[in-house]
């Protein structure tokens, strides 16, 4: 790959636009990731240690436990939606700007 030799990777990495992309993306991804892991593990924890709450009937025979399990699906889909919106609208544009200038940066 002779092409990759032409790139000055360190310069692109140090470019303020790349740094901005990196900071935005890292903060956003870590936040979503931590939230989703915590929300997921609340389910087995709740089912084991908060059984009285999970057994509480709220809508006919439908109890908190069933609603919470269903909410796991909704939350997973929401996270996917939120991430794709953000990535399509923001991250892709920022990355494209860097790609367009990549040969010029540090070159």
């Amino acid at each position: 790959m002779s092409d990759s030799k032409k790139m000055n990777w360190a310069a692109i990495d140090a470019d303020p636009r790349f740094q901005a992309l990196h900071r935005k993306k890292a903060g956003f991804l870590w936040g979503l990731m931590i939230f989703s892991v915590i929300y997921y593990f609340l389910l087995p924890i709740g089912a084991a240690y908060f059984q009285d709450l999970f057994k509480m009937k709220v809508w006919g025979p439908v109890n908190v436990g069933i609603l919470f399990a269903l909410s796991e699906f909704v939350v997973a889909w929401l996270i996917a939606y939120v991430y794709s919106r953000k990535a399509n609208a923001e991250f892709d544009t920022m990355a494209q700007a860097i790609v367009n200038d990549a040969h010029k940066i540090g070159g």
Binding site: M7, I12, G60
Partner: protein, 677 residues
């Protein structure tokens, strides 16, 4: 190609249509032609796909990655097709039909797993990878060393998963339509090999897409029929579940003594509450960790992201996969509960103890029952989808293992990346044949083994070995070859080692104890008072058999009469036999005697085996590790070892390559492009 493909399908059709192979099974003999007709149609469709794909499969990139020309939506369906294995398609519906809430809760982790794939794995891997897990790791680490461990890990994970699929598939097809186990395994193997060897990734992808669509269509149809009588109301449907006598009887059986103080309504409601199946929360969290972190390390899932043209398409494919997979699991709630009220847990376990037949039996019921034409057509359709499921999942796994063998080991390590393009494709096809033959062999050799835990083990190894290595390579500058090798080896070995010492294994002495109960029966037990829960000696005691584990509270139990053993029952029956005059009653007594003699023989064998062989596979008399899932320990250990290995040794190349890797994974500069057509 095609002579061999056609010969393969001709062989299969011949086997399927020969009546000798089709005795027994859930489908009655007079309706079997329908099952075979549906099977034939599906096999014909997939063969046509393979024929078409083979014409477009010449280069390495076409063989491993379908020329990177799969669209995001197509790849999303293919991921769903790859992921919804027989275990999740039939197994989870079965768990829900037998245990209610816990089965549904179990399904959640399989979807949440894709958040990890979406947020941290899919796009960077597409941007820097080529065909395999080894390619990603070799980007900034020593290529030969990391490709070797990555290939070992890939082959290990794939083999565990493959064995579970082959054995599960063989049993499933036998239970459904009565084809011999060995014939099913060979049939699945030959079909899958035809797809992979001739059509490579393109054929595999389209087989997975077709299968996922059939599966989703079948599920939606079944849920429509099951839910419509309740006006598509969730409380209305669940009220029917709570009020169902078959469900109440199942709960009474599960909770045992505690059922005496519960009203029928309370028993039914208990079905919608946690704790009937998953009794150890720590074990569940451990399994949850393996799922959430393991899916992102599954080689056959990772490989799917190399088939799309850009990282944006990789993102789109995960979103689609999440919609399909999640939607499917929500449907299984209705499939499982529907099977519980319409077929009944007792009837489901009568056909298959694990509940795997819940979905197929519901299909039969919805169509009009066991004697109706429509019911059997529905059953035939679900059976054919199950068959297509196994073939599609196995094809994906074989391709992943073969790519590790051919691309990482042969081309990367042995030939030092100097193989000609033609040589690479030949190597890929030969490796597929080897892995496929191995899969058939393992499938037949493992007949009758309990392989259910192998799926969980595959996820645990992927989560403890592959994920820490990939994740830290992508996101931590200091990661290097030493850390990768150490972390992957320790992660994989600890996951496997812990399972070998866990309650999943067979312990001859425990088996002998049960066998003794069968032979000699149980003595009468006096009424017992309730015992409050006892705390253990600490958290570590919940994990290892080194100190006292906490004990849960036991409810009061009534007096129990003695249970007679098989020996006693046999003696009584044989005494009674000459006095029976009614012919039907006599046949039944003869059958009972034959069954008792079989039980006694098995129990005596078990006891004899325990005399000579007191310990399990690794010399333990009883479980040392108390959880069924090793993830809780092996996953953090895998991460820790990558970090420790990387900190102890320096690797200049790994650090110098960091800028390039980090820029490229985020921007997609120089990402492998789609091949032009």
């Amino acid at each position: 190609m095609n002579a061999a493909t056609l010969a393969g399908s001709a062989f299969l059709l011949e086997v399927l249509s020969s009546p000798a192979m089709a005795a027994g099974g859930a489908v009655e003999d007079k309706f079997k032609w329908m099952t075979f007709a549906v099977f034939g149609v599906i096999i014909a469709i997939t063969m046509y796909i393979t024929f078409w794909a083979a014409k477009h499969t010449h280069t390495t990139s076409e063989f491993y990655a379908a020329g990177r020309s799969v669209t995001g939506v197509q790849n999303g369906w293919a991921i769903a097709g790859d992921y919804l294995s027989a275990a999740s398609f039939l197994g989870i519906a079965g768990l829900i039909s037998l245990y209610g809430y816990d089965g549904f809760m179990y399904s959640v982790g399989w979807l949440v797993a894709y958040i990890t794939v979406l947020l941290v794995i899919a796009e960077p891997c597409r941007n820097i990878g080529k065909y395999t897990l080894g390619d990603i790791l070799a980007f900034r680490n020593d290529p030969k060393k990391t490709k070797t461990v990555a290939a070992l890990s890939t082959i290990t994970v794939s083999t565990f998963y493959l064995t579970a699929q082959m054995v599960g598939g063989g049993v499933l097809i036998k239970t459904l339509i009565g084809i011999d186990y060995e014939v099913s395994v060979i049939g699945v193997g030959i079909l899958m090999l035809a797809y992979v060897v001739f059509g490579g990734m393109k054929a595999t992808t389209w087989v997975q897409i077709v299968k996922a669509m059939l599966l989703v269509a079948a599920s939606i149809l079944l849920v429509m029929f099951t839910w419509a009588p309740y006006g598509f109301s969730l409380p209305g449907f669940l009220q029917a579940v709570v009020g169902d006598a078959k469900v109440q009887a199942q709960v009474a059986k599960l909770v045992g003594d505690a059922a005496t103080n519960m009203s029928p309504q309370e028993l039914g409601q208990r079905f919608l509450e946690p704790g009937l199946f998953l009794k150890s929360p720590i074990d569940q969290i451990s399994l949850g960790m393996a799922l959430v972190f393991g899916t992102a390390g599954m080689p056959h899932i990772l490989m799917r992201f190399f088939t799309v043209p850009t990282a944006k398409d990789a993102r789109k494919s995960v979103i689609w996969a999440m919609a399909i997979i999640g939607g499917f699991y929500v449907l299984t709630l209705f499939l499982g509960m529907g099977a519980a009220i319409n077929v009944g847990p007792a009837n489901i376990t009568a056909v298959d103890k694990g509940g795997n037949m819940a979905g197929p039996l519901l299909a039969q019921y919805v169509g009009g029952g066991a004697d109706s034409v429509l019911g059997n057509l529905f059953l035939a359709f679900v059976a054919a989808v199950a068959f297509a499921t196994i073939v599609a999942v196995v094809a994906g796994l074989v391709l992943a293992a073969a790519s590790a063998m051919a691309h990482d080991i042969y081309v990367g390590v042995i030939r030092g990346d100097h193989a000609t393009p033609k040589e690479q494709v030949v190597a890929a096809r030969v490796a597929s044949l080897i892995v496929g033959a191995l899969a058939i062999y393992v499938g037949i050799a493992a007949k009758g083994q309990n392989v259910a835990h192998l799926v969980a083990l595959a996820f645990a190894v992927a989560a403890s070995s592959n994920l820490p290595a990939v994740f830290l390579t992508l996101y931590w500058k200091r990661t290097n070859t030493y850390g990768i090798v150490l972390g992957m080896l320790v992660g994989a070995i600890s996951a496997i080692g812990l399972v070998l010492a866990s309650p999943n294994m067979t312990y001859p002495q425990a088996v002998a104890k049960e066998a003794k109960k069968v032979l000699e029966g149980e003595p009468a037990q006096p009424a017992k008072e309730a015992v409050p829960a006892k705390p253990g000696d600490g958290f570590i005691c919940e994990l290892f058999a080194v100190c006292k584990k906490a004990e849960p509270a036991k409810p009061a139990s009534a007096e129990k009469p003695a249970k007679p053993g098989a020996l006693e029952k046999l003696a009584k029956l044989q005494e009674k036999l000459p006095t029976i005059t009614d012919a039907a009653e006599k046949t039944k007594a003869d059958e009972d005697i034959a069954k008792l003699q079989k039980d006694i023989k098995k129990a005596q064998d078990d006891i004899a085996k325990a005399e000579t062989d007191k310990t399990n596979l690794i010399g333990l008399e009883k479980p040392f590790f108390l959880l069924k899932n090793p993830g809780l320990i092996s996953i953090p250990l895998g991460f820790l070892m990558v970090i420790v290995g990387s900190l102890l040794f320096r690797d200049k190349r790994a650090e110098e390559m960091w800028d390039e890797l980090y820029v490229r994974q985020n921007t997609g500069i120089h990402a492998e492009a789609a091949s032009a057509h």
